[in-house]
């Protein structure tokens, strides 16, 4: 971007909607930032001399003679090591009372990685949560959301995952975060003594919704700095992407675009993919891993937001309350990590894939047994044993408060197999049974 030697100030708005203003202006670039009545805005449409600006914080109180000046550049972030440990708003301005960050100025929303330059993701991320490490292992460079109902403790689980994962940097992109949750993240990170590894870009529910649109790009610009320039393993947490998508639909609605399914803009897939595809394993060793949250309404995954997300991300994690043990577990049936094949049995112990499958199959048998029980049918001895197995399996492995390493998870599984089943019922390859079976 060329620097502008003079800044012309415009003072005549021709149109004002709830999210946009339009005025006549010259020499304005697409995507450029402007200040409208002291508020940050971005060019979203130019027709002849008519320039339409999206005002991030809303247009309440903006008069038709508001002062408008153009910055001649897209939204930017200053990147350097000074970012570490800091909290910023959606514009990248400090909100923790600290000083401005010095560093190199970068445009947010950088171009895509050339697909032939990507490396295949291949490093396991250990979280200590067996519902993830055992059944749905995560890999650096992966992108995966929690599909969760709003009442589920997804932010807590995500904070746990973030702290236990051995990431060099954790970047939190909070969109529509309640102030309580924001403080929760801040406390958890602080108490863990991990604050120097963490960078946060936060838009809380107190802030205008359209501002959220900047958060993922800010977070990912910082992530790319650490992953590319510093070859670090960066973990990006995005919560809640449903509120991001809602903000997209607000803007497209104000711009009179024709909505597609569920009132979402027709470009929702591309808009989400642009963010999630920033997850990458770089050839130079750095990586960006994205763990996001997509809140569901009533568990409906056919809604346009989770549906499009599912087609983009490499799996999804579901949380569920297991009433048998009274704890939240990672649902072993609906959760899926598409990249686990790249690491299980390779970076983990050889018995991992078979143990994982056998345990889930036996857990599924317990669900059938439960259905029988609820319908008043008699249970066989095998049914009884699957129910007991399921209870311990949930308690010792699936519950999100479990924190052990993968070998221990496998050992616990073998213990449970030996305790409740015969070798034939577990049906694992003979050589593994000989090596690991516990009586």
């Amino acid at each position: 971007m060329e620097t502008q030697s003079f800044q012309k100030i415009y003072t005549r708005l021709t149109n004002i909607t709830k999210a946009t203003v339009t005025l006549k202006a010259d020499n304005v670039g697409y995507d450029e930032i402007a200040i409208v009545d002291g508020r940050m805005a971005q060019v979203v449409k130019i027709i002849g001399r008519d320039v339409t600006l999206q005002v991030f914080s809303g247009t309440e109180g903006i008069p038709t003679n508001a002062e408008v000046s153009f910055a001649g550049r897209p939204p930017q972030l200053k990147v350097s090591d000074e970012l570490a440990g800091r909290f910023f708003n959606a514009y990248g301005e400090p909100i923790d009372g600290g000083p401005e960050v010095n560093g190199e100025t970068r445009n947010i929303g950088s171009p895509s990685v050339n697909p032939v330059r990507r490396r295949q993701p291949s490093n396991l991320i250990a979280t200590g949560i067996a519902g993830i490490d055992l059944n749905n292992s995560l890999v650096t460079g992966q992108k995966i959301p929690f599909f969760a109902d709003p009442d589920q403790p997804y932010n807590q689980v995500m904070a746990l995952v973030a702290l236990r994962a051995k990431a060099d940097k954790i970047i939190l992109g909070g969109m529509g975060l309640s102030n309580d949750d924001y403080l929760y993240f801040k406390n958890v990170f602080d108490n863990a003594g991990a604050l120097d590894r963490i960078i946060s870009f936060v838009n809380t529910t107190d802030n205008p919704p359209v501002e959220r649109l900047l958060v993922p790009d800010m977070a990912l610009t910082a992530a790319e700095y650490f992953a590319v320039d510093k070859n670090e393993a960066v973990l990006v947490l995005l919560t809640d992407m449903t509120l991001y998508a809602d903000a997209l639909s607000i803007v497209s609605n104000r711009m009179d675009q024709i909505p597609s399914k569920d009132s979402m803009p027709g470009s929702l897939y591309s808009d989400l993919a642009r963010i999630y595809e920033k997850a990458v394993q770089f050839p130079t060793g750095g990586s960006i891993t994205i763990i996001a949250v997509t809140t569901l309404s009533g568990g409906d995954i056919t809604h346009a937001i989770p549906d499009n997300t599912g087609y983009i991300t490499e799996g999804q994690l579901f949380l569920r309350r297991d009433s048998e043990i009274g704890k939240v577990i990672v649902d072993p049936f609906r959760s899926l990590s598409r990249l686990k094949q790249l690491v299980i049995g390779k970076q983990t112990r050889e018995d991992h894939p078979q143990v994982m499958n056998a345990a889930i199959r036996l857990f599924a048998d317990s669900v059938n047994a439960r259905t029988k029980l609820e319908n008043g049918f008699d249970l066989t001895d095998y049914d009884e044993r699957t129910l007991e197995f399921a209870r311990e399996y949930s308690l010792k492995l699936l519950a999100i408060d479990v924190n052990v390493d993968t070998d221990t998870m496998l050992d616990i599984s073998w213990e449970l197999f030996g305790k409740f089943f015969s070798k034939a019922e577990v049906a694992i390859r003979e050589n593994l049974v000989q090596k690991f079976w516990k009586n």
Partner: protein
């Protein structure tokens, strides 16, 4: 579209990647232009003209673009460059060679040459002076990865010509002149090995396009046996996320009996393309023993790459397919996923403020899709030799709902339907192709039936239809059992159900990650199907319903062991022997 002076214009409006250009001369629909932004040139395509305003879709980000920017129109449509050296390349949707681009990130306005201009090719002449030729006729051939790559009279040349000269056998670069031809008026044309062709127009350098009749073997049993696709046929695979669309597509592209495989990764995950980049150079082509990369071309326009180029990418892939078909080769083209292509059309239609059709897709979606599918097919070239493009597209139905516009429109265009079922995927029955809902219209073609009877077995068709009936009856029996309870139905219901399970486990389910089970040649499929059908014809003695299940589980286990064994090996025969003994035990 020949013009003396280039039409130019200047930008007057910008809405995301839709740019309005005021022009000072003639422009054509779909004409390519370049917009100057600083020292970058952004490629764009005309998609609508209103008065002096041309609406163009830009294949790049328009960030920073200003009204008044200069635009230069090129006088041609979006074209691909065709010549030796396309095999094994990784292109983006506009045929830029991705490997030639510098740096980790894609640079805006960087366009790279799809061909290697320095490489020397061993050229052999096929035509001689005095031959009469028309567009698409073979003048010579070079060896491209051991594939005879024909050098043809450019498709753009209309009318007929006399060959004046063809260079002798030897080494030439693609830009060396290899032939001179002369038209009716005596005008001479010097030809090299490179030609260009607009992607949105089908190459029609062939004599006739008969109905497809030859089976295209994919090695995937629930396709080849139950719902076969033909050389030159069309099929589509709709499925909700997580049902194994991509694994199935990769399996087909690895195993199918094709000379050339073109994979168009259209708006999907980049890591899936990376998997191909990593796997294919390691994997052997099961038929030739060469590496899979040698017969493969990848067009990668992943979901984060510019959306207009995504729309172009499937056309780029299809045009390259037509080029290789004109050499008398069997081309298999896969597009994953055509829904993303349709969404690219929707985004543009939306910005153009066109009146929307269902789900805000453009009204002519159905026509665009069927037009595209019709470019596949089996052809006889002008020299009588056959060539084919088999096209299989995946569809990602929104919300898993098969009534959505892209699935509906594709159903009208494609002849094979391989519906992936969430229920089958949930119970890990892979590939999750639903045996009841899926179909292949080719089974109804008399020429296909004749081919199968001649080349597979004389009772193949009736066997296949019989197997489908058993699956259907098994499903009905299962529903009855679920409603009335295990005890509430006669034992024969359980037998019927388990006979369908036998077909399901032995024929339909296939382990894509097992070396032997992953690929089943048609001879073996025929052997196994008739073996399984023999069992379904037998009648057994059972005292109670529990005995039925446990007995059939044993049969299924032995059949599965056979599937995992080398066909006809000692191991295979041993399991077969055990199976016979087991069957004797209970036969009536």
């Amino acid at each position: 579209m020949e013009r003396k002076d280039k039409t130019t214009g200047s930008v007057t409006g910008i809405i995301a990647n839709l740019v309005i250009v005021e022009v000072n001369g003639p422009v054509a629909q779909n004409e390519i232009c370049f917009i100057t932004l600083g020292d970058e040139q952004l490629m764009a395509e005309v998609i609508k003209v209103v008065g002096k305003n041309a609406y163009v879709q830009v294949f790049e980000s328009t960030r920073g673009l200003k009204p008044g920017s200069k635009v230069e129109f090129q006088g041609h449509l979006l074209e691909v460059t065709l010549g030796p050296g396309i095999l094994s390349r990784n292109y983006d949707g506009l045929q830029n060679d991705l490997d030639k681009m510098e740096g980790i990130f894609l640079k805006r306005g960087e366009y790279t040459d799809p061909l290697n201009r320095e490489k020397l090719w061993d050229f052999k002449p096929l035509a001689k002076p005095g031959d009469r030729v028309i567009a698409g006729d073979w003048l010579g051939e070079v060896n491209e990865n051991d594939m005879p790559h024909k050098i043809m009279v450019p498709f753009k040349m209309e009318g007929s010509y006399w060959v004046k000269k063809v260079v002798p056998e030897g080494q030439y670069t693609v830009n060396d002149k290899i032939a001179v031809i002369e038209d009716e008026e005596g005008k001479e044309f010097e030809l090299d090995m490179v030609q260009k062709w607009p992607v949105k127009i089908a190459i029609k350098a062939y004599r006739e396009k008969p109905r497809p009749f030859r089976l295209l073997e994919t090695g995937v049993r629930c396709m080849d046996t139950l719902n076969p696709i033909t050389e030159g046929g069309t099929g589509f695979i709709p499925g909700p996320f997580g049902t194994g669309k991509t694994v199935l597509q990769h399996a087909i592209s690895k195993q199918a009996e094709a000379d050339i495989v073109i994979i168009s990764a259209c708006g999907e995950r980049a890591n899936e393309v990376v998997e191909i980049f990593y796997e294919f150079p390691e994997l052997d082509d099961p038929r030739t023993g060469k590496k899979l990369t040698e017969r493969t071309i990848i067009i990668a326009n992943t979901s984060n790459m510019p959306v207009a180029a995504r729309e172009a990418s499937v056309y780029t892939a299809m045009t390259i397919g037509e080029y290789y078909r004109s050499m008398g080769l069997r081309v298999l083209m896969m597009a994953d996923s055509t829904s993303r292509w349709a969404q690219a059309l929707r985004e543009m239609s939306n910005r153009l403020e066109e009146l929307p059709g269902p789900d805000a897709f453009p009204m002519d979606l159905s026509a665009i899709i069927s037009n595209f599918y019709s470019r596949a097919g089996y052809v006889y070239l002008n020299n009588g030799k056959p060539g084919s493009i088999t096209f299989i597209g995946t569809v990602s139905p929104a919300g898993g709902n098969l009534k959505e516009p892209v699935t509906e429109s594709t159903r009208k265009a494609a002849r094979c339907f391989y519906g992936l079922s969430q229920a089958r995927a949930d119970s890990k029955r892979y590939p999750a192709i639903d045996p009841i809902d899926s179909y292949s219209k080719y089974l109804e073609y008399p020429e296909v039936q004749e081919y199968l009877e001649k080349n597979v077995s004389d009772h193949w068709l009736s066997d296949v239809l019989h197997a489908k009936d058993i699956l259907y009856r098994g499903k009905e029996a299962q529903e009855q059992i679920n409603i009335l309870g295990d005890d509430g139905v006669p034992i024969s219901f359980h037998e019927r159900y388990w006979k369908s399970e036998l077909i399901d486990f032995v024929i339909l389910q296939q382990d894509a990650f097992d070396k032997i089970d992953a690929v089943t040649p048609i001879k073996r499929q025929q052997y196994m199907l008739s073996k399984v059908l023999d069992v379904t014809e037998m009648s057994f003695r059972f005292d109670n319903f529990e005995a039925v299940g446990s007995y059939f589980k044993q049969i299924i286990n032995l059949f599965k062991q056979m599937n995992y064994s080398e066909f006809g090996s000692g191991q295979f025969e041993r399991y077969e022997g055990e199976l016979q003994a087991l069957l004797k035990e209970r036969m009536n």
